[in-house]
Symmetry: C2
Subunit: 426 residues, 2 copies
């Protein structure tokens, strides 16, 4: 016997968000570039006009975070300043100047029977962004979705709730000013954790894609529970492989930059692999360079024997993403063992080889199945801006649709337009 | 307290299939076009050399199906003849002559800092094909996967088990002859229904993609339960919209061809929409043309009033995929109402507009969000061969990665190769 079920307000509200987003997506799909860019310019204006209100809401968020004893790095990611608010406004203007992928004819061809077929870019539809803490993601993700013709449903961390709410209001002001539906960018109003679960179910088919931005716990939960496609990376266990034919200075520069430029990003190298045939010559200089830069090293027996500052590594260190000034170090038997190690312990994110041997480099570039494979360059180039995409909503390590940096183009899909003159099929 | 669990043979076998497929995929990814084409030629030879054995196994499958009182159309799809076996061999040879997408540089560009970036096609990895009855799918799907560098795990219906087993043995003979791993194409050996469930879970991350080929029950189950991406279409509820500015003869030809050329395929039209402004002139000729071709019509009040042969339609008829000589007919108020009807009742598969008004056609082509939108052409062109893809593993109506006909190119993904000269990121 069923009991009268309680009315699920959260579910009801979420489904309404989904329906409104779907309706907004339809309007947005044909809005045209000018109108979308006008909205972005208006959003930037609204952000600037509301800087005091944004900072006030942010201060309340930060106070609460401090009272909850959040870590200093967390507080830093959460905190907005006048400069950071200005950066949000400028990023909106930058998005307006990016080329609009919607409507772009990717390919066009004629068939022998006279049919003309085009593959044309169209928006994906409704994108759910689930993220932690950083209030600028609210504006970045919302505007990238909108520029690529998609409606966005934003679900940020509760820590940045007040800041994000004011930012979203500014974004919606901009939409309204340009004659676009406000529901093109919506924020989940409840901090009820069930709201995320509902989004992952797809809100009755109204959500086409989920993009999670945050730590492993968040991304892992999304990947496990989502019934909707996800663009994400769980970890960036990136490798630098120094081959026997590497230039030593280049190897040191690339190893240090890949690890130390910014240790907390997904493109930071977590493991250095050194060709055994180069170990005598290169191991100690590499260890010197990294140690001088402030990096701790956990290495195998061969590495420890080369330098007393190397701490012992265990098997657990190879698949560890430190996101810190620590790197794993292992001596491997040439490019084959390097690739086997990366396949066994990596996350198919970003890996680089340093060598002057073109054949070895090509083997690495061709045979390693990561989203980004580099030759003689730092892993820290794993970034949409560095790729020339102008902006990026995140990096994906799944295999389908979007792989690597996810920019405006990857937030679109395509359809076929077939133009005939009465053809029927025999 | 846990009880000693029974050893799950099916799960064990399936996981082993997955591991073997993953290992084979790695070898296949770098096999090179010549070797893959040699395998396809050898497969064709093996098929021809085994025609008697194939037909004998097929006869046993057909006898069993008849004893189970399967429908005539089912038996027909199941039955092989010497001609049909020869067609399988020729299809393998045709696949060999298709361009190999693997390794193709989709795009390449230089960055201001000197980095050269390429987006390069690579295989997706391991593809699970779950299908019903038609033994030629065994060869078609297996070979398309292999040509695009993917390992295939085939799970056909139990009705074609014996036929498929012999065919797979021929395919594996061909692989072996060309020096490729036999496990590049594997068949699920058990008819245990749990095997499909395990595939849908992804076999411990070894399966990258599922492609179901079959009726609504099969595809629906796969879409509901798969934890792995799926390329599929659930239904082909395709529309022909005849606009007031249509050429009447063209409209009749396209309507009849779209419905009647082959009623059982997903690109067959299921609903005819006629502009109210054209109804007086066009409704009766269209009804005549369809009825003369042997089609029954279920229509709204306006259609019934136009011709007594039109049976009454209910709301349930609009979203119905008849796969038969039946079509729904509705009079709509111009292209806007036509599009609203299609959005409400269609399946985002294939829809066509007949009109000589370019502006109206462009609105339909641009605003309707289906995988394939046509102007003045039959919906029956929704086919990889007709698109020039050479072959197709199915049609997808999802939005990501593959949309419309899924050919060799759609069975690949990409990675980035970045070539530098020592660049580090500031």
């Amino acid at each position: 016997m069923s009991v009268a079920t309680e009315f699920d307000q959260t579910l009801n509200d979420m489904l309404e968000l989904g329906r409104d987003a779907r309706a907004a997506a339809k309007a947005l799909a044909n809005a045209g570039t000018e109108r979308k860019n006008a909205a972005l310019a208006a959003m930037a204006g609204a952000i600037r006009a509301s800087v005091d209100e944004i900072l006030k809401a942010n201060a309340a968020d930060v106070d609460l975070a401090k009272s909850l004893d959040r870590r200093a790095s967390f507080i830093d990611r959460l905190t907005l300043t006048p400069d950071r608010v200005e950066a949000i406004a400028r990023a909106l203007e930058a998005t307006a100047s990016l080329p609009d992928p919607v409507g772009h004819v990717v390919e066009q061809w004629d068939r022998p029977n006279g049919l003309n077929i085009s593959r044309v870019r169209v928006p994906i539809g409704v994108i759910g962004i689930i993220y932690e803490s950083r209030p600028n993601v609210t504006a970045d993700a919302g505007s990238l979705c909108m520029k690529s013709g998609n409606a966005a449903i934003l679900r940020g961390g509760s820590d940045s709730f007040r800041s994000s709410a004011v930012i979203v209001r500014c974004l919606q002001d901009g939409l309204r000013e340009a004659g676009l539906p406000e529901t093109a960018i919506q924020m989940v109003q409840t901090t009820d954790r069930d709201a995320v679960g509902h989004m992952l179910e797809g809100l009755n088919g109204t959500v086409d894609l989920i993009v999670p931005r945050g730590g492993k716990d968040l991304v892992g939960r999304v990947q496990d529970q989502a019934r909707v496609p996800v663009f994400a990376h769980l970890e960036g266990i990136c490798h630098v492989y120094v081959d026997k034919d590497a230039d030593l200075d280049m190897a040191c520069d690339i190893a240090v930059n890949s690890k130390m430029r910014r240790t907390g990003i997904c493109g930071a190298a977590e493991t250095l692999l050194v060709d055994t045939a180069a170990a005598d010559r290169m191991l100690k200089p590499l260890i010197d360079a990294l140690t001088s830069a402030g990096c701790a090293i956990r290495g195998d027996d061969a590495s420890q024997a080369a330098d007393g500052r190397v701490e012992p590594a265990t098997e657990n260190d190879w698949p560890t993403e430190y996101l810190d000034t620590i790197i794993s170090l292992r001596v491997v038997d040439g490019v084959d063992e390097a690739m086997r190690h990366i396949e066994a312990h990596g996350s198919q994110h970003t890996d680089t080889i340093v060598t002057d041997n073109a054949a070895t480099a090509n083997r690495f570039l061709n045979e390693l199945d990561s989203a980004i494979v580099l030759h003689n360059a730092s892993t820290q180039f794993a970034d949409g801006g560095e790729f020339g995409f102008g902006a990026e909503i995140g990096i994906a390590t799944g295999k389908l649709h979007a792989r690597g940096p996810v920019g405006l183009e990857q937030l679109t899909t395509f359809k076929y337009q077939v133009r005939g003159s009465g053809q029927t099929r025999p």
